[in-house]
Symmetry: C2
Subunit: 131 residues, 2 copies
């Protein structure tokens, strides 16, 4: 590849990536691996986008319906080993892994966990760091 | 889609997804979005796999060179907004976001951060939760 010069200037880095200067509280990952996709994880991710945007929580550009001062990042991810029990959703830094998530579970996860800080026990299956 | 029955039995869930019974300490995500891929994030992810497997740290099946008792999960993810300063690497639950990561930075991140618990300051650009 073309050699890319390492940028040391922190102000320059924040210009190039405004999120580096943002105050992010949580990062939600939705698995879009093959098995999770088969149980409609794309719909689960879309549902998170709808719920988070409606509350002004999703960090991102206004023209995409997001909030430049939002506190939650939403990202898709590859397989995490929940292939037989998808869709998998992880909420960090809490370290909560949810299994068998459907789009209609998302409002509860956003309201209870993201807003009120109480993980949804009936769907939560793994906690990181483990014992 | 075909309706999938919700499984309530926790033992059955652990049979279907052994990771649900594992003791995971950290989850490393490497961005494989378009911009990060252009600066060889696939090589960065491979380097993490090599370093973690060599130390018996990567959770997974032995036939894939991983350790069923490993404590680190390695996953790719979609874009996080570090597109201009990739490759982006996130380490959770620590909440450390690294920018401008190259494959040859990976042994230091594994040794210093994953093994010794000291994030590599020269590459770390964002901490979650933010202030």
């Amino acid at each position: 590849m073309t050699e890319v010069k390492f940028i040391e200037d922190r102000d320059r880095l924040r210009e190039l990536a405004p999120i580096a200067g943002a105050s992010i509280k949580r990062h939600v990952f939705v698995c879009t691996g093959k098995s999770c996709s088969a149980v409609e994880s794309a719909e689960v991710k879309n549902a998170f986008g709808r719920e988070l945007k409606a509350r002004g929580l999703q960090y991102g550009k206004e023209k995409k319906g997001c909030n430049p001062n939002g506190s939650v990042v939403l990202t898709e991810c590859g397989s995490v080993g929940f292939c037989a029990i998808g869709a998998a959703v992880m909420v960090y830094p809490d370290g909560i892994w949810y299994a068998q998530v459907r789009a209609n579970d998302v409002p509860e996860i956003v309201e209870e966990h993201i807003v009120n800080g109480r993980p949804v026990e009936r769907l939560a299956l793994l906690k990181i760091p483990g014992k």
